[in-house]
């Protein structure tokens, strides 16, 4: 393996979305879609990325760099936040509404990679890369939202809850392009936060948690909890969420929430942590992040 030289491929540089979709339907799984490149090119250099035939190569890279109109971050009160496929992490982090209303997302963007990779990589790409340790993906799953997928046959919206089908497997079909991520607006009592645990600051996560709670005073009306690096995909802890629905948050509740979180995750041993550690710490992290958002 060489990190100096990329394997051979042809590059496709469509000048419009229509052209991109046409090329995609023509090449399907033999074309990898290139947005920021900070994951894809690394995987290709390491020959870790497989095409539709399971070969460690792609014949074609389809770049979105010159497709106009995909690099937006927009907000309105009914639709919420709309993030285009080419909007970089830095762009999202700089948006005033993200700073104001989406603290969990903001935190996740801030710890995703380094300044340089945030200037290059995209939020939608982080979701599409489908890594079980995805930073923004975890915050997005905790917040809830929809992804717009477009193909030559038309467009459809997929709930982020239904997007991950298995390890590195998503609901996107090979002829579809993820064009936009939509995150609904917050309501009055919404609080959110994200916490990533790493060995050193810009490392990949050992374990990550994101929460979004709908609070009314000290009572939690409903909760969404997502975790990364604890299962083959980023996951929601739906059983644990139920314990929080409609209850006043007390120390006692948090103890049972912690216990439930630890039993709901299915981590493995790998280079960054052991399963046992992750299981133990999952509960503690969920408890602490809820304490934190309730205080703020």
């Amino acid at each position: 393996m060489s990190t100096r030289v990329l394997p051979d491929f042809e590059i496709l540089v469509p000048q419009s979305k229509e052209e991109a979709l046409k090329l995609l339907s023509q090449y399907q799984g033999d074309a990898a879609i290139l947005a920021g490149g900070t994951d894809l090119l690394v995987q290709m250099k390491g020959q870790l990325k497989c095409n539709c035939k399971g070969e460690n190569a792609f014949g074609y890279l389809l770049s979105l760099a010159e497709v106009p109109g995909l690099d937006y971050v927009e907000y309105d009160e009914t639709e919420g936040l709309r993030i285009g496929a080419m909007a970089t992490l830095s762009q999202v982090a700089a948006h005033p509404v993200v700073k104001e209303n989406y603290p969990g997302l903001l935190e996740s963007v801030g710890v995703c990679g380094t300044k340089q990779t945030r200037n290059m990589g995209t939020v939608v790409g982080n979701l599409l890369n489908a890594s079980p340790c995805a930073d923004c993906g975890c915050a997005i799953l905790a917040w809830g939202g929809t992804l717009t997928l477009e193909g030559t046959a038309g467009r459809r919206e997929v709930d982020v809850d239904d997007f991950y089908l298995g390890y590195r497997l998503t609901a996107r079909k090979t002829d579809e392009l993820a064009v936009e991520l939509k995150l609904p607006p917050k309501s009055d009592g919404t609080v959110s936060a994200h916490h990533k645990m790493t060995r050193v600051e810009h490392d990949l996560s050992k374990i990550t948690v994101s929460v979004r709670l709908e609070m009314s005073g000290t009572t939690c009306k409903s909760a969404r909890i997502a975790m990364a690096s604890v299962a083959p995909t980023i996951v929601r802890l739906k059983e644990t969420e139920k314990l929080l629905a409609g209850v006043e948050i007390t120390d006692q509740i948090l103890e049972s929430v912690a216990k439930s979180a630890s039993s709901e995750v299915t981590p493995i041993d790998d280079v960054r942590s052991t399963a046992e550690y992750r299981r133990d710490v999952a509960g503690v992290m969920v408890k602490r992040i809820i304490q934190k958002v309730c205080k703020s």
Partner: protein
């Protein structure tokens, strides 16, 4: 396509090039003699290949495809000196002895310029956080952080 004709503006000089689809910007820079920009890891971890787009945004040349850099204005370490005068950030690195073997320095300097472009008055904490993504194997981080603070003060017109 297997190759693409592109125009690159490197340190304000225009280059018309034919590049391979799978060539990185780093490979192209180095092949035309712009060897100030270093190859460290090739995988986006060390920051040795950091260059600036439009004079301010830091990117990694090792993860940028040259074919997609058509029309870009790139600043590298080799474009900083003007009429024999070093850029204040370069001077600050020398003044504060923030260079040991020097391999990380081009990336560190370019990154520092982008940090100060975005926030001319960063605190030490902010500097440490922002420098994440640039590694120094000689581990002279103390001096590097010191140099960035010195550059910040010089560029504001005050020296400590």
């Amino acid at each position: 396509m297997k190759t693409r004709d592109i125009t690159l503006h490197i340190n304000e000089e225009k280059y018309n090039l034919t590049v391979d689809a799978n060539q990185t910007l780093l490979q192209v820079l180095r092949s035309i003699g712009s060897t100030g920009t270093k190859y460290g890891c090739g995988t986006g971890e060390c920051g040795a290949c950091t260059v600036l787009v439009n004079g301010k945004t830091s990117i990694l040349a090792c993860l940028t495809l040259a074919a997609l850099a058509d029309g870009m204005h790139i600043t590298t370490i080799m474009g900083l000196e003007k009429d024999g005068e070093l850029h204040p950030v370069q001077q600050a690195f020398i003044d504060r002895h923030a260079i040991q073997c020097g391999f990380c320095t081009p990336g560190m300097v370019m990154k520092t310029i982008s940090i100060l472009e975005e926030n001319p008055n960063p605190t030490e904490d902010q500097i440490r956080h922002e420098l994440e993504g640039n590694m120094c194997r000689c581990t002279g981080y103390e001096k590097i952080v010191d140099a960035v603070q010195h550059a910040r003060d010089m560029m504001k017109g005050e020296t400590r």
